[in-house]
Structure formats: structure tokens, C-alpha cells
């Protein structure tokens, strides 16, 4: 594991750049623990100050130091993405492994439901969810809802691997030596699907952060917990662009774009690493 990672960083430029980008973002989010101001206090600094040495990213019209506010926002945004990813990974793994291993009617039923979740347009459903929840909408609730909706694509991927694992000899050895289905899935098959799970995790974090940003920019979440989307929402509420407070929009957007590209590079390079054919294509004949 450690050795694979070291090789990836050394030989795969995409992986290395992804790691660097995400390390910067993660370090920045850790700065929130040293913030001199609590995240929701306003008018602690003079409003509308452009970026300078005293305020590296300027201040907002609500009198907040954007640098520290942004560190809170990116921390919450990352936490949100990771929460959704972890919960939906569990769902995707259980459904994918069980469907792929058992096959037959159970597999077909699970995959029909799975395909349904891939097809259904999630955004209107999430908006409807916000509409009926209103003030009761919270960060955790949204994460849970999105995890329940966002496992399907990856479950299908895991299932396809599990199907091929079922025909391998070690599975039969396991069955004949009296292992239970759960043991076979967890002890024998899980290690094989973990690399794919890693790459889908990155994609899933990307997906959930993207939806969270979109929903909060429109004001369809709990707008009192600072996330990147909520930050842009407040900037729009104060018509920051028209007022010429460009830094209030620029820094959150730039930071979240860096996060997206970093996660995406990790996912792509990991995918390539898993598929040896494209790895050969990279080194060339």
C-alpha cells in the first residue's frame, strides 16, 4: 500500500499534482482551528476592504475576514463531501458485492433499483426536500439524503468486479472450506474492490460538494453554517459583483475549483493505475 502510493507520487504526474492541490486545500481548512474569530460573528473587521497584508483575501460587506471565514467554509464543505462519501460507500459496497456475488434474481432486482437511482433527476428531488423541510433543514440531514441517493453508479461498478471475482478459484476454495457468504465477501472480495472504491470516493466527494455548492448558492440549505456555497450565497445577496467586491466571489470559487480538480486528478490517475492496459499506454511502446 505505502509502496504503491510512493510509486504513484513519483511516476504519475496527475496523481502527484492531485495530492499537492488537495494538501494545500486541507492545510487551509486546518487553519480554521486557529481562527481569531468565530465563523458566524459579523462586523469584527472593517467591511469591504480589498486584499492587503492585513487581510490577505479582503473582508466581506458583513465585516468578516474572508481568509478565516473561507477556512471554516472549506472545512465544512470537505467534511460534507467526506460524510456523504463514507455513508454512500457503505451502501454501494454492500449492494454491489451482494448483487455481484449472489447473481440470479436478487442481482436483477437490486440492479433494477440501482438503475432507477442512476436515472432519476436528483436535483428537483433535493429541492423538493428542502421545500418541505425549510428551517428544519440541516447540514447532516442533507448529507444523509444525498448519501441515500448517490450510491447507485458505484454499486454497479463494484458489482461488475464482484461478478468476475465469483468465478475465481479462491472463491470456490473459500466455499468448500466452509466460509460463510459474509466472510467471503468481507475477507476475500473486499480487498479486490478497494482500489475502485478509492477512485469512486473521490468522484463521489466531487459530486456531493458540487450539489451542495449549487443548493446553498440558491439558498436551499441551512444558510447559517458557512460552506463554500453559503459564502457565495451571501456574496450574491450583497450583490458583491455589482458593488465591485470581486474578492468575495473570486477566492471561494478559486478554492473550490482547486478542490474539484485535485479530487478529479486523484480519481483519474487511480483509475488508470487499476487498469494496466492504459498504464502500458502511458509508458508507450
Amino acid at each position: 500500500m505505502g509502496r504503491t502510493l510512493r510509486d504513484l507520487v513519483r511516476f504519475n504526474r496527475q496523481f502527484a499534482s492531485g495530492v499537492i492541490l488537495l494538501a494545500v486545500v486541507a492545510a487551509f481548512s486546518c487553519l480554521s482551528f486557529f481562527s481569531p474569530y468565530p465563523p458566524n460573528d459579523s462586523f469584527v473587521v472593517p467591511p469591504d476592504v480589498p486584499p492587503s497584508w492585513a487581510y490577505p483575501m479582503g473582508t466581506t460587506s458583513r465585516g468578516q475576514d474572508l481568509f478565516w471565514l473561507l477556512s471554516f467554509a472549506i472545512r465544512n464543505t470537505l467534511l460534507f463531501g467526506i460524510t456523504v462519501a463514507v455513508i454512500s460507500r457503505v451502501l454501494a459496497l454492500v449492494i454491489g458485492l451482494v448483487a455481484g456475488y449472489s447473481g440470479g434474481l436478487l442481482d436483477r432486482a437490486l440492479m433494477s433499483i440501482n438503475d432507477t437511482f442512476i436515472v432519476i433527476p436528483l436535483f428537483p428531488i433535493l429541492v423538493l426536500f428542502y421545500f418541505v423541510m425549510r428551517e428544519h433543514m440541516s447540514w447532516g440531514l442533507l448529507a444523509l439524503m444525498m448519501a441515500c441517493l448517490g450510491w447507485a453508479y458505484d454499486a454497479r461498478l463494484i458489482r461488475s468486479v464482484a461478478m468476475s471475482l465469483r468465478t475465481r478459484e479462491f472463491t470456490e476454495t473459500g466455499i468448500f472450506s466452509g466460509m460463510s457468504t459474509r466472510q467471503i465477501l468481507v475477507e476475500e472480495h473486499l480487498p479486490y474492490v478497494l482500489p475502485i472504491v478509492f477512485s469512486t470516493t473521490m468522484n463521489n466527494i466531487n459530486w456531493s460538494i458540487g450539489l451542495e455548492v449549487t443548493l446553498s448558492v440558491l439558498g436551499f440549505t441551512d444558510i447559517n453554517t458557512p460552506t463554500i456555497g453559503v459564502l457565495i450565497y451571501w456574496a450574491n445577496q450583497h450583490t458583491a459583483l455589482v458593488a465591485g467586491i470581486w474578492w468575495w466571489i473570486f477566492f471561494p470559487v478559486a478554492l473550490v475549483v482547486i478542490t474539484f480538480i485535485g479530487l478529479f486528478l486523484l480519481a483519474v490517475s487511480m483509475n488508470e493505475h487499476i487498469d494496466p492496459r492504459s498504464r502500458l499506454g502511458r509508458t508507450g511502446p
Binding site: 442512476i118 433527476p121 474539484f260 483519474v268
Partner: protein, 334 residues
């Protein structure tokens, strides 16, 4: 030819299942939450000034009728399905007394045309460029293009649309950034009107295309670069078949099959993107309608749009699935 009817039936079954589960999710979301839409609407209506208790009781009764919230949960469930089946979601509260179905019907052509044009454009262009990039691996231009497409791919629709809005609205204001056509223009299908329609659709289409291109490009490139090593391609090359013909009918044709499946699978996500993009550019489609309905607290309109979206997206997937056998003869022969 035995395979086609079976294929058709399974696809129709899948369509029915998607609609069934989707509508059920909408029902559960609206009914399992602790918040009562009737009380919410009453609170919104009585916010200003005092209303007599009798009037509120009357309002509660008529709203319950309007929202189909009378009787027990099972009655409500069937009432919900009846409304979906006949497409009647009652009058809109924010644009009273216009029926919700009329409002949606007015917005739907905008969304559908935006979706169809941008999806076709993105899919064709992405696959073409990706196929070329996979076949001519040494080309520097194609590599650079791929890098650009991939840079935009992971960014969500909202952020890309927002960045385009800033660039073309504030930094270099050459394109209209809001609306579907020039305000107050007569909708007479004259040349100026059509030109205005086209210029207003450039930015929404561009933002959808920028996000979408990378996915098709990468998918096609990796598919093609795997296919070119197959024996039949090598054989065709050795046999002196023209390179262009190899690429078009030996390589791309085979690689297209999974890409069509991919299109069917991502229609839902593309639809989400279109809704969001519309809202950014104030395009008069379903997305803008949905967001303004939420702001106006219009329960029947939000519910109507959600159900119509679920049905429309599953229909689009069904259509692509039905076209699939034309491309892949194995489906017909199975």
C-alpha cells in the same frame, strides 16, 4: 429477430419502475416530513394583517383539498397517483389561478430544446474528438484539447455557468446574460427574434458543453485506444484499408455502443445541470420556474415540476434505449 420484443419489454418495465420509484420518493419526501405544507401556506398568507379564525379554517380546508392531503395516508397515496396520472397538480399559488400544468407546459419547450441541442452537440463533439485523440495518440493539438476539456469536467455546472456569467457579463460584456430572448420583443418568429433566441442560448449551451465535453472525450479516448490494439484493426491496417475508414467503421462504430449506454445513464445528471444553468442565466425554462416556485412558497408548482422531471427524464432514457438496437445488432439477434 426474437431478441427485440424481449428487449423492448424489459426497457418498458425499467421505465415503469423508474417512474414508480421516483414518484414514491416524491411522495415520501412530501409526506414523511414533520412540516405541513398547508400550515406553511397559511402562515405565508396570514403573515400580514390579522385574519379571522373562521377564514383560516376555511383556507385550511380548501388548501387540504387543493394539495390532496385529505383522508388517511392510503387515500392520500392514491390521490397522489391520480394527480400524476392525469397530469393535474391544481392551480399554482404564486400565479393564481393559472394551473400548474400550464406553467410547466410553457417552460418545458425551453428546457427540452436547450437540453437536446447542448447534449447532442456535446456528445457528438466529445466522441469525435475523443476518438481522434485515441487513434492519433501523438497529436499535440488533440492532447492540449483533451487537457482543456478535462480541466472543466470536474467543475459543477453551477460554478462553470457562474464563471461564464462573470466573464461575459462583467469583464467582456458581448453576450446577453439573462432571459430567453430580448425583453419586450414580439414572439413572431421573424429574423431578429430568431437571432435574439440564438444569442441568448449561447451561454447556457456553452456552459453545459464545457462541463459535458470532458466526460465523453475521456471515455471515447480510452475506448478507442483499447480497440486499436485489437487483432481485426491491425489486420485491416496490414490489409491496406484506408485509415479514415478504419477509424470510422472499424474503431469508432464499436466504441459508440458503450457511449450510447453512457448517454442514457447520464441524462439525469445532464438534466440537473440544465436546470441549474437556466437559473443562472434566467433562461425561461423549468429550472428557473422551479427555483422561483421555491422562493414563492408554491407547493403545487414545486411538486408538479419534480414529478414532471422524473417522468420526462425516464422518457428520454427510454427513447435512447429504444434507439440502441439500431447501433448494436447483438440486441436484435439475442
Amino acid at each position: 429477430m426474437n431478441g427485440y420484443p424481449v428487449y423492448l419489454l424489459t426497457r418498458l418495465g425499467q421505465f415503469a419502475l423508474v417512474v414508480f420509484i421516483g414518484i414514491n420518493i416524491a411522495f415520501i419526501v412530501t409526506h414523511a416530513t414533520p412540516i405541513d405544507p398547508v400550515e406553511q401556506s397559511i402562515a405565508a398568507a396570514t403573515q400580514y394583517g390579522s385574519t379571522s379564525p373562521e377564514a383560516i379554517a376555511l383556507m385550511r380546508q380548501s388548501l387540504k383539498e387543493l394539495y390532496g392531503l385529505e383522508g388517511g395516508p392510503i387515500d392520500q397515496y392514491f390521490a397522489f397517483w391520480r394527480r400524476v396520472a392525469v397530469g393535474n397538480f391544481g392551480p399554482s399559488l404564486s400565479a393564481f389561478p393559472t394551473p400548474v400544468s400550464v406553467l410547466i407546459g410553457r417552460a418545458l419547450p425551453w428546457t427540452v430544446s436547450l437540453l437536446v441541442v447542448s447534449t447532442l452537440l456535446t456528445w457528438v463533439l466529445g466522441n469525435l474528438l475523443g476518438g481522434l485523440a485515441g487513434y492519433y495518440r501523438q497529436s499535440r493539438t488533440l492532447r492540449l484539447g483533451g487537457l482543456l476539456a478535462m480541466a472543466f469536467h470536474p467543475i459543477p455546472y453551477y460554478i462553470v455557468a457562474f464563471m461564464l456569467l462573470i466573464v461575459f457579463g462583467y469583464l467582456w460584456p458581448v453576450l446577453p446574460i439573462s432571459g430567453g430572448y430580448k425583453m419586450n420583443m414580439p414572439r413572431d418568429w421573424s429574423w431578429p427574434f430568431i437571432a435574439s433566441l440564438l444569442t441568448h442560448s449561447i451561454l447556457p449551451i456553452l456552459s453545459l458543453a464545457l462541463v459535458g465535453l470532458g466526460g465523453w472525450f475521456m471515455g471515447m479516448r480510452s475506448l478507442v485506444s483499447n480497440i486499436v490494439t485489437e487483432d481485426y484493426v491491425v489486420y485491416a491496417e496490414l490489409g491496406g484499408v484506408e485509415r479514415r475508414r478504419i477509424l470510422a467503421s472499424y474503431v469508432m462504430r464499436n466504441a459508440l455502443v458503450p457511449q450510447v449506454t453512457g448517454l442514457a445513464m447520464s441524462i439525469g445528471a445532464i438534466f440537473n445541470g440544465a436546470i441549474i444553468t437556466e437559473q443562472v442565466f434566467g433562461y425561461p425554462g423549468v429550472g428557473t420556474l422551479l427555483v422561483s416556485a421555491v422562493y414563492a412558497g408554491d407547493y403545487s408548482l414545486v411538486l408538479g415540476i419534480t414529478t414532471v422531471s422524473i417522468v420526462a427524464v425516464s422518457l428520454a432514457v427510454l427513447l435512447i434505449d429504444l434507439l440502441h438496437p439500431l447501433l448494436d445488432p447483438r440486441v436484435r439477434a439475442r
